[in-house]
């Protein structure tokens, strides 16, 4: 292992291609942390944003005007403002207004860390889009299928859970896929509130080592792999959900 690291150090000296996150143990550790942070952030946000989408779409069909208004307001506010500014706003403005908790180093830290705010903010941002995506999927389930369920005596919640949602899911999978890919890409914004994800770590490394092109290419490859895994997973899911005669 050490030989490999040394090889990369020599590689730098002989070719000028500098990959300190391989040979330098400090940079390596923080890059691994950064990668894991990105993965963790992505996975949590993916999950939450889908849950928000499902619940929001359900609430959108609610009989209470005010429920629908609040959901609409949420969607419009979140999808019409830049997620970067949302992050800043959440972290600095809302964050410091929250109650504080005692930290292990004896300070009074805000209840939520920058990571938590990134999770909240990005989930709600992607969730706003997901609500609309699920909503359009639900709309695309023909009224007649819902009526068939109605005429068999299903309740509203039963229809949503047993008929509408499973069918809508199949219709919206491509756009959901698209939005989730976007979400993974958007996690880079957490960089701005100092969540040590991959871009943040890379930027630190390239300002220490002045090796921007190398880091940039590494970042592109890393995101390709991550997005690739997501797309692969979504495609498998799509295949698993496939039913004959549906969406050939």
């Amino acid at each position: 292992m050490d030989d490999l690291y040394e090889w990369f150090r020599d590689f730098y000296h002989t070719t000028g291609i500098n990959l300190p996150f391989i040979y330098d143990s400090y940079d390596r550790d923080r890059m691994i942390d950064g990668f894991l942070t990105t993965v963790e952030l992505s996975v949590i946000c993916l999950f939450l944003s889908v849950v928000i989408g499902i619940i929001g779409a359900w609430l959108q069909g609610s009989a209470f005007t005010w429920t629908r208004r609040i959901v609409s307001g949420y969607i419009q506010l979140f999808r019409n403002t830049p997620p970067l500014v949302q992050l800043y706003f959440f972290y600095f403005a809302i964050g410091s207004a929250l109650p504080r908790v005692e930290t292990e180093w004896g300070g009074q830290a805000p209840m939520l860390s920058s990571f938590a705010w990134a999770v909240i903010s990005l989930s709600f941002f992607a969730g706003a889009f997901n609500v609309e995506i699920f909503r359009s999927g639900i709309e695309s389930v023909p009224k007649s299928t819902v009526e068939a369920a109605e005429s068999l005596g299903f309740s509203r919640l039963q229809i949503y859970w047993d008929v509408t949602l499973p069918l809508a899911l199949r219709v919206v999978l491509p756009s959901l896929n698209n939005n989730l890919v976007n979400l993974v890409k958007t996690t880079t914004l957490a960089y701005a509130i100092a969540v040590p994800e991959m871009l943040y770590v890379s930027a630190q490394i390239w300002s220490d080592n002045v090796n921007v092109p190398e880091m940039m290419i590494f970042l592109l490859i890393a995101y390709f792999v991550l997005v690739g895994i997501l797309v692969w997973g979504m495609n498998r899911w799509e295949r698993a959900l496939k039913i004959p005669g549906f969406g050939s």
Binding site: L77, P83, A93, A97, S140, T188
Partner: protein, 289 residues
């Protein structure tokens, strides 16, 4: 001759599965009735003022938050104009190149199709921020072609960096719209002896424009929101200026909330009408077909 009204217009494609009916996006009817634009403005104002007064703990010797805000708003507005300028130009460049790329994606020539597909996927899957970093660090600040120096100032770099993902997304929009037309349209045109080129330009694309408009506008709105990322490149856009304004005011922490909610507010009043217009067009076209 009596014309019995058709209870159901014939849909473009025959399927046994009713579920496969074309996507109809009339879902937004509700928004239109219940959420008026001023609701959004109201919401943003509430955000703005609550935070402004929520932090009104300033002593007598410092300027009040409102005074500070008023001092900087003209500059911030100028910065926001820059955001809009960048968004418009990136959209124009991205659309022009992206349309070509999208058409290349449905080309009958294999290599053209495959390479344009690859380019599209490449720029679609890269994070915007990384592409901007790319444009900023890896593009020269000026280009030398045969003695003529073409300068690449920051804002040009920002436009290039932003038009790359726009291009890739437009490419997909074009391809998707063309493929979403029922194949019957191609066949009808073919059986009337249209050439492929004629079919594309006379029959397919005119119908696609309508289908492309909503996603295209959606993309524009996303792009506009992404222009704040140009802070990376150091363009004096609104986020950059906000950061600098805060520094110039001596890092007063009570200023963060009002400043950021002001920026949120600016984007909201610009993007929300676009979003609503998009929804309107979407539902309008959905009914027509």
């Amino acid at each position: 001759m009596t014309q019995p009204p058709l209870s159901q217009p014939p849909s473009g494609k025959k399927t046994d599965m009713a579920v496969m009916l074309p996507f109809k996006q009339k879902s937004y009817e509700r928004f239109r009735i219940e959420l008026k634009p001023w609701h959004g403005v109201l919401l943003a104002m509430v955000c703005f003022f609550t935070t402004t007064y929520g932090y009104a703990t300033t002593g007598p010797e410092v300027d009040s938050i409102l005074t500070v805000m008023l001092r900087w708003i003209p500059l911030l507005l100028k910065g926001f104009l820059f955001n809009i300028l960048i968004s418009v130009l990136s959209m124009a460049v991205g659309t022009a190149v992206g349309t070509m790329l999208g058409l290349a994606q449905i080309s009958l020539i294999g290599p053209v199709r495959h390479s344009s597909w690859f380019v599209t996927q490449f720029f679609r899957n890269a994070p915007w921020l990384v592409l901007l970093f790319f444009a900023m660090y890896l593009l020269p600040f000026e280009f030398n072609i045969g003695g003529i120096t073409i300068p690449f100032p920051d804002w040009v770099k920002a436009i290039i960096g932003l038009s790359l993902p726009v291009m890739a997304n437009v490419s997909e929009v074009v391809r998707g719209a063309v493929l979403s037309l029922p194949s019957g349209q191609w066949e009808a045109a073919e059986s009337l002896a249209y050439t492929r080129r004629q079919t594309l330009w006379l029959i397919i694309l005119p119908q696609c424009v309508k289908r492309m408009l909503p996603p295209w506008m959606n993309l524009y709105s996303i792009l506009t929101m992404a222009t704040v990322l140009a802070f990376i490149v150091g363009v004096p856009e609104v986020m950059t200026l906000t950061g600098r304004a805060l520094a110039a005011e001596g890092e007063r922490t009570d200023l963060l909330a009002p400043f950021y909610s002001f920026v949120l507010f600016l984007f909201f009043i610009y993007c929300y009408p676009i979003a609503r217009w998009t929804v309107y067009l979407e539902s309008k076209f959905a009914v027509k077909n």
